[in-house]
Point group: D2
Chain length 351, copies 4
């Protein structure tokens, strides 16, 4: 990392960037404060630190030890307040701000009617971002693969855009493979990388380059260091609008399953100490149980999450995918109310 | 399980119990309602159901499928309200009632002065049960093993009793081995089975027979079914005053550890659906990180826990054991305040 | 699954296939025996079984319960011997036959010289397939990403092809993303899906359609059912030349790591009971320790594996990636010798 | 650790031991070579190293970093050959020697007839130690708890002793609780600590003091460092005759279970690098599947294990406990034959 002097000229900074490229690395320039800070993308050991330290305009050259340096507080403390969170704005919705955010909608979009009916319900219940799956990652090739596998894939994306417009919510959907990125990016406000694709560095880079906020889910087999190191793949493309999402990790394989995954809520404050990126929680996939969503939503917000992602259906029993973990709009309303109070209470105490 | 008629005579019930013994099983009789319900301890398949169904006074005979039947809602719904929680009273302290309970104190008792100073602190901070370790389970034979391994073992227990009396809190300490049970039971109000001893059925049975409440911690490698099945070993001795405690399970072994264990908070509401026993959470051992205790305490209560068990020291840096996870009495005060509000809020919504 | 009569005409079979498509599913036709067996790709519940059972030429219609039906023994027992293994031939090399197969080479191709020197070494040591990584999946965007990330990506693939030709071994390399499939398929004999991409169903389908054998690695977080269910994505494209590979699963996160992953060798015979596909083992990534490779190679073959995939370097200390788990060609020689004896011994006893 | 001079007098060594006690630690003296080496049991940081280094007869004072120092190669390299394994002799049976050892017998002793019939079978099949469970650890209080829970507990132990005598095999059984130690030690040659009791330091110490070999099983939730650190509790009592046993760790909780636990065979060579103690493998409990025992036995020996512990029944379907994982004496015969060959082959190559 190269910290420039406060009186460094733009030409001096440009020269540094050129030098970095000459050594085979890329530069990540942050200008939020009165001074420029330049992060290095690539193997820092290739850089002759002494050479850079001697260049005009350079205040100091520092090694950042962590593999997720561009998104780490260790790096950003040079141009942000140490306690500051990143705030991502999508239309009039703010993620990581003073209010928790509620992303809700159907697991899979099944029809225009189903989507609009659910969109209306979640809007009334207080949610502020609409989700809906088109390209569904499925464990079995023999199961329903979402409308993305049919010839109404693009139509489904169009419905999502329309529903977002009608009910005044930004929309998010998952991009499962590289060939879907261009199409999906045309229709949605936030691009989601699902848990199973967390390690897909080619997909991450391609999605990042769309310059839209990315909702990035932790793989159920990933440690926190890995999770952040792969978020770094997005940041390394110059896109820092990353919303992290905890959605449960592999449970202990001992006897009967009471929850589908183990919701690792302690990862929420632990991650918040490492990075300024906002983190939300998905209690639907984590528990797989409708009757646990209320408690685990409250717990997630109490743990410090900036929001929730919840699957909703007006009639969970009818859903083609994951019906047993869906809640109704009325149940969502209770969660929104309780979580707003808890969020306020916890943030007040933490100041 | 044998459900007696409402007009069954005590003699008829006594006859059933005799018959059960004749088949090599034991009887667990619940009389809370107008009718007696008799649980079977042992292999139900040895019982000729038709024979029992025909005995005078018997209303019906039912098979309970789960391995933790005596503590299951499936069993107790015959003599309790389905939504009812068990309330355990220790002196004037109530566990599982309308208020969350706060168990706090040092990890290990190091001296009378240390214990009394911490006891005073946690009392002022709002805690209502005092903890203090004497017989410490340790990973290394070369580490400090607690005062239990020295010749002041009994004195340390006496200090604990005195501190409880002086600051008006019931006291709890861990019993690590069978030979310690008689001694420890003389001095404390609640006997703790630590996580590492969860599977020790001989210890469980011996502790249960002391007829004092048992604080029973989940092993870090135990599934929920196992946890409850071993709690059943305590219940099978006729002791149903069991306080369950979630304290973190084995984390994913991927890279750097950010928390010591994975706090499985979804187990709290999941367990509460299975049993009427109260469950509390220990965020200290689960996270091993002082800076995460506030958030994870709030999250535990939001998840539905009936209380918390927290390690406190007036000077965490000085503690002989686990200093990095201790908080100060002042920090405890903030937790007590936030958790009382969250508990009220969540319970209100759930009614 | 639809089992045709032995005297069913090709026209009758063709009609069935047409009918299957009409219901929105695809057909997988196996003709190895005197009768055709038609597997269904898609949701079998959409099919009116009675309707199909009544069609001319149909002997019986059966439901296959498992999510990995096309590769299951339950399905193939209708056209294969129950104990039969699948044999995949690549040039003159046979995988799943009477001899174990040894896939060896550098983790990452670093230069033409490095590759040829290692290729010569592993050939002499007895290996029969050459591996070499070009598109490397890496945990950190800041680490060396393989020559695939440079402008000599295609050249590196060309070296691999040449080395294979010169030392008479088929060659295999990993395809990490969809956009690499066409390029890589031009140069290599076997396409590898790495552990991190196991869940990437779009990549799997695209690779499968290249009609070359696929080396398919188990994700470190995948259960056996998931592993086989994703192999089914390849089979569903009509490509059954799948070589499964066990390479270690997430270890218990308790204290110091002695091995990088936990090599799940019992999965080898367990998987062999489920499917006729051959399975090999990668002890290099599983253990991450050069000093354990010999023992774990022998153990893998004793467990019933059809071969091994091992990383080799003439000077492990020099390797740019994973040097600590590389062995030398001389060490490979000892493994080949011991494993050939063990393979013979174990197979003899099992007959 | 204190290394004495070769010409140190017994008086000088005795003085050192006295000094160690004065500082609150215990001494572990090894005299196998021409010089005494004194290990410290307790917290080494309490010892003034300079003071000890200056005492007469002392060659050097060294810190041993690992928590399992008394059983580590780091410690024993001062009085053993670095590559040397420990050999434990029980009667004429040798564990850790040139031949693999086969411990076999019923999971639970059900009757004298059952035990003798199985003992005869396993002897003929080539096994050299007889096992039989009396005090059974069980997951459910409602299941059969072994004859240890009945009034023929001592008789069952007597049968075991007689069967051992008649068929000329040393015998081993599990001690589950502290109160059973004295009784069991009267009857058997080797005392077993089961997986669930691995963390029970009070039981470990009590068993160790019986001065008989201890068969010490790894807990399914224990890392290797923990496993060895608890073996150290036995060694710290002066009993180094410890036979380690790998029996499977908690599997990934993803979907259907194909094996009961994950057999961690790489732990075998990894542990062998750390300690000179012999390690054996129990494939019966690890897999829970009769049809995998042959392969996993061969794999265990190939991985470097010094022996196997296998559950055998003449009619597995009849067994009261764990019938699905039992094999017959005939199946054991095949395992013994294959494993002896593999053991020879692997050891030859490793020299």
């Amino acid at each position: 990392m190269i910290v420039m002097k406060t009186d460094a000229t733009p030409e001096q900074t440009a020269h540094i960037i050129k030098e970095i490229k000459r050594y085979g690395l890329r530069a990540d320039v942050s200008n939020r404060t009165h001074r420029a800070v330049i992060g290095l993308v690539g193997d820092e050991r290739k850089i002759p630190f002494a050479h850079f330290a001697a260049l005009p305009g350079v205040k100091e050259v520092r090694m950042v030890e962590t593999p997720y340096k561009l998104i780490s507080r260790e790096y950003t403390k040079f141009f942000r307040e140490p306690s500051e969170h990143m705030v991502i704005e999508v239309g009039s919705t703010v993620i990581g701000g003073d209010e928790p955010v509620f992303i809700a909608g159907p697991c899979a979009i099944e029809s225009k009617e189903q989507l609009f009916k659910i969109a209306e319900g979640v809007k009334k219940a207080g949610s502020n971002i609409l989700r809906g799956g088109v390209f569904k990652p499925r464990s079995s090739v023999h199961s329903f693969q979402g409308l993305g596998a049919t010839d109404v894939a693009e139509e489904a994306l169009e419905w999502l855009r329309q529903a977002g417009k009608q009910f005044e919510m930004p929309v998010v959907t998952e991009v499962r493979g590289e060939t879907q990125v261009d199409l999906v990016a045309e229709y949605v406000d936030i691009l989601q990388i699902g848990a199973r694709n967390m390690y897909d560095q080619d997909l991450l880079a391609k999605v990042a380059r769309k310059e839209k906020p990315v909702l990035f889910k932790r793989h159920f087999g990933a440690g926190i260091e890995e999770f952040l190191s792969f978020a770094e793949y997005i940041a390394a493309e110059g896109n820092k609008s990353i919303i992290l999402c905890e959605r449960g990790i592999i449970p202990l394989g001992k006897g009967k399953d009471y929850t589908r995954y183990t919701l690792d809520l302690a990862s929420v404050p632990a991650i918040q100490k490492e990075t300024y990126l906002p983190i939300i929680v998905d209690p639907s996939h984590a528990t797989g149980r409708r009757d646990l969503i209320f408690n685990m939503s409250c717990a997630a917000i109490a743990a410090g999450a900036s929001g929730l992602m919840i699957e909703v259906h007006y009639n969970p029993g009818e859903a083609l995918v994951d019906g047993q973990q869906m809640i109704t709009p009325d149940e969502l309303r209770e969660i929104v109310d309780a979580c707003q109070s808890i969020h306020k209470l916890v943030r007040a105490q933490q100041k």
